[in-house]
C-alpha cells in the first residue's frame, strides 16, 4: 500500500506531528530568554545555562541519574536478551506463560503501582535481612525490572525476523550451539541490543514515579529534582536544563539511528554478496 496518501490524511499527520513538537520548540526558545519573567521576551541570553553549571543540586542529581542509567541499561540488556532468546527459541518450557506475562505487564502497569509494591518489598527485605538500604542500589534494582521488559520486547521482535539458516549452517560445520549463536545470530540482533540499551538509558533517566518511591534520603535523581522545582511553576533555569536534556537525547537517538541503518545496510549487502 504505497500509493500517495490523500491530502486530508497528510494534513492530519502533519498537524499531529506539529502538536508533538511545538511545545518542545517553544521550551527551547524560552530557555534563551534573558528575562526571568517567563511570559516576557527580554532578548537573547545564555545566562540560564551558565547558572546551571553552578547549581550543585542539579549537577549532583544529574551525576546520580547518569550512573543509574549506565548500570541499569547494561544489566537490562543482558537480562532482556536472555528473556527474548528464551521466549523465541524455547517454545515449550515450564514458566513460559509466566515469563511472557512478566515481560508484558511492566509495559502497561501504572508506575505508581509498581513503585509502591517494590518499595514494600525493599522495606520488608531490610526489616528481615538488614539489606538493601534505600538509595542508589534500590533505584537500580527497580529500574532494571521495567527496562528488562522493554529490552525483551525490542530484541524479541528482531529475533523473530532473523534467518536461522546461518546458525544451522554453522552448527552443521561443527560449531556448538552457543558458538553458532554468538557467530551468526548475535551480530544480526546487535542493532536491537544497541537501541534497547539506549531506550533503557533514556527510560531510566526519565523515571520519576518509581524512583520517588524506592529512593532513600539523600539520593535524588534528576527527574525528582526537576519535579520538585516544576511543581512551583515554570522556571527559566529548568527551561535551560530541559532543553539540554532533550537536545542531547534527541541527538543521540538520531545518531544511533543513522549508524544502525548504515550497519544494517552493509550487512544486507554482505549477505547478498555471499549468496551469489
Amino acid at each position: 500500500m504505497h500509493d500517495r496518501p490523500s491530502p486530508l490524511l497528510l494534513s492530519v499527520l502533519w498537524i499531529g506531528i506539529a502538536i508533538l513538537y511545538v511545545p518542545i520548540l517553544v521550551l527551547i526558545a524560552y530557555s534563551f530568554n534573558a528575562s526571568a519573567l517567563v511570559s516576557v521576551w527580554g532578548g537573547f541570553s545564555t545566562s540560564w545555562y551558565t547558572a546551571l553549571v553552578h547549581n550543585d543540586q542539579v549537577l549532583d542529581a544529574a551525576w546520580l541519574s547518569l550512573q543509574v542509567g549506565v548500570v541499569v541499561s547494561s544489566a537490562a540488556v543482558v537480562l532482556g536478551t536472555l528473556a527474548a532468546i528464551s521466549l523465541v527459541r524455547f517454545t515449550r518450557f515450564r514458566g513460559r506463560l509466566l515469563l511472557t506475562g512478566m515481560v508484558n505487564a511492566p509495559l502497561v502497569m501504572p508506575e505508581i503501582v509498581t513503585g509502591i509494591t517494590q518499595l514494600l518489598l525493599f522495606i520488608s527485605m531490610l526489616h528481615v535481612m538488614g539489606w538493601p538500604h534505600r538509595g542508589f542500589l534500590t533505584i537500580c534494582i527497580a529500574h532494571i525490572a521495567f527496562c528488562t521488559a522493554y529490552v525483551t520486547v525490542t530484541v524479541q521482535s528482531r529475533l523473530y525476523n532473523v534467518d536461522r539458516s546461518l546458525e544451522e549452517a554453522a552448527m552443521d560445520l561443527g560449531s556448538g550451539p552457543v558458538r553458532a549463536f554468538l557467530d551468526t545470530t548475535l551480530p544480526a540482533i546487535m542493532p536491537a541490543l544497541a537501541s534497547s540499551w539506549l531506550l533503557s538509558f533514556t527510560l531510566s533517566l526519565d523515571d520519576l514515579v518509581i524512583s520517588s518511591f524506592v529512593s532513600g534520603p539523600g539520593a535524588s535523581t534528576l527527574p525528582m529534582v526537576i519535579f520538585s522545582k516544576v511543581k512551583l511553576g515554570v522556571t527559566p533555569d529548568i527551561n535551560a536544563l530541559a532543553s539540554l536534556i532533550i537536545c542531547a537525547v534527541g541527538a543521540c537517538v538520531i545518531l544511533a539511528g543513522v549508524i544502525m541503518r548504515r550497519a544494517d545496510r552493509r550487512r544486507t549487502l554482505d549477505m547478498q554478496l555471499a549468496e551469489r
Binding site: 504505497h2 521550551l27 514458566g95 503501582v113 509494591t117 525490572a145 538520531i254
Partner: protein, 297 residues
C-alpha cells in the same frame, strides 16, 4: 559436563530473567497484599506485621480486612477511580481518532518516507516524558503561546484558563501518549494486504465501505494494543494531573501518592494499589493477548 549442559543449558538462559522479574516485579505484589491486610501502626515501618509471634514463640496470624472495607466506605477512592477511568477512556478515544489517520498516512507513504516519519513520531517518546508535560505547560498557561496567539488573532479577548482544569489533564494525556497509539496502529496497517482493498473496489465497494469492511476489522489488533498502551497507564497517571490539573482532578494515582507520602497510611495505600491492580487484570490480559499475536504474526 557436556551432557549436563545439553540437558539443563537452556535453564541457564531462562532462569536469570525469570528469577529477576519474579523477585523484583511479581513477588512485590505479594508484599503489597500482605501489608494491605495488616494494621496501621505508629512505628517504622508504619504497620504491624500480619504474622506476630507470641512470647512463647507461637506464630499468630491476624488478617485485617478493614483497609479494604475502608475503600468502600470512604467515597473518595471509588469516585477517584471512576474519574480516572472516565478520563483515561476519553483520552484514549481522542488518541485513537487522531492517531489512526496519522498511522494510516504513514503506512501509505513510500518506504524511505516511512522511516523518517516513524523517527519523527518516536523521537518525542525517547525524550523525557516529565519534560514534555512541563513543556506543554508553557503552551497552555495564561500567558502561554496558545493564549498569546488567540488574543493576537482576536479570536478571544480574555485569556483562556486552561491550566489547572480538566481540559489541561486531557490535553496532557493525549499529547504524551499519542506516539503509543500511532506505533502499534502503524504496525498492523503496514501489513495490510492491499489486494483485498482492490478486490473490494473491483466488486463496486466505495472507499468508505471498503474501509469499514476491510481495513478497520483487519487493523483491530493494532487498535486494541494501541488503546491499551494508552488506557492502562493513563488510569494510573500521576504526573499529568499533579502538574497540569487542578484540585478537582483527583485521579487514583494522586490519591495513592498522597495516601503514601502525605498520610503515611501504608496499609490503606497498599489496599488501594491491590484493588486497582485487580481491576487492571482484564485490560492487561487483553493487551498481552493482542500484542503477542501481533509479534508472532
Amino acid at each position: 559436563m557436556t551432557g549436563f549442559l545439553r540437558a539443563y543449558g537452556k535453564w541457564l538462559i531462562i532462569l536469570p530473567p525469570l528469577l529477576y522479574l519474579l523477585v523484583f516485579f511479581l513477588i512485590p505484589f505479594g508484599f503489597a497484599l500482605k501489608i494491605s491486610l495488616s494494621e496501621t501502626a505508629l512505628s517504622v515501618p508504619p504497620f504491624r506485621d500480619v504474622l506476630q509471634f507470641s512470647a512463647d514463640g507461637h506464630p499468630h496470624l491476624s488478617l485485617n480486612f478493614d483497609n479494604f472495607r475502608y475503600l468502600f466506605t470512604d467515597e473518595v477512592y471509588g469516585l477517584s477511580y471512576l474519574y480516572s477511568l472516565k478520563t483515561a477512556f476519553f483520552s484514549t478515544l481522542v488518541c485513537l481518532l487522531v492517531g489512526y489517520p496519522m498511522a494510516y498516512a504513514i503506512a501509505r507513504s513510500s518506504k524511505s518516507m516511512q522511516n523518517i516519519l516513524l523517527l519523527i513520531i518516536i523521537l518525542p517518546f525517547w525524550t523525557s516524558f516529565l519534560l514534555r508535560v512541563y513543556a506543554l505547560e508553557g503552551i497552555i498557561r495564561e500567558t502561554g503561546l496558545l493564549n498569546t496567539a488567540l488574543l493576537w488573532l482576536g479570536v478571544i479577548h480574555q485569556p483562556l484558563q486552561i491550566m489547572h482544569t480538566t481540559a489541561a489533564v486531557y490535553l496532557g494525556i493525549i499529547y504524551s501518549y499519542l506516539p503509543f497509539m500511532v506505533l502499534p496502529l502503524f504496525a498492523t496497517l503496514e501489513k495490510l494486504d492491499h489486494s483485498l482493498l482492490e478486490a473490494a473496489a473491483d466488486l463496486g465497494s466505495p472507499p468508505w465501505r471498503s474501509f469499514i469492511d476491510v481495513t478497520l476489522p483487519l487493523s483491530m489488533p493494532g487498535i486494541i494494543a494501541g488503546s491499551m498502551l494508552v488506557f492502562i497507564p493513563a488510569i494510573g497517571e500521576f504526573v499529568i494531573p499533579t502538574l497540569l490539573g487542578g484540585p478537582d482532578n483527583l485521579m487514583i494515582g494522586r490519591v495513592l501518592w498522597d495516601e503514601f507520602f502525605g498520610n503515611r497510611d501504608w496499609p490503606v495505600a497498599s489496599a488501594v494499589a491491590i484493588a486497582f491492580l485487580v481491576l487492571l487484570v482484564g485490560p492487561i490480559a487483553l493487551y498481552q493477548h493482542y500484542s503477542t499475536k501481533q509479534l508472532e504474526a
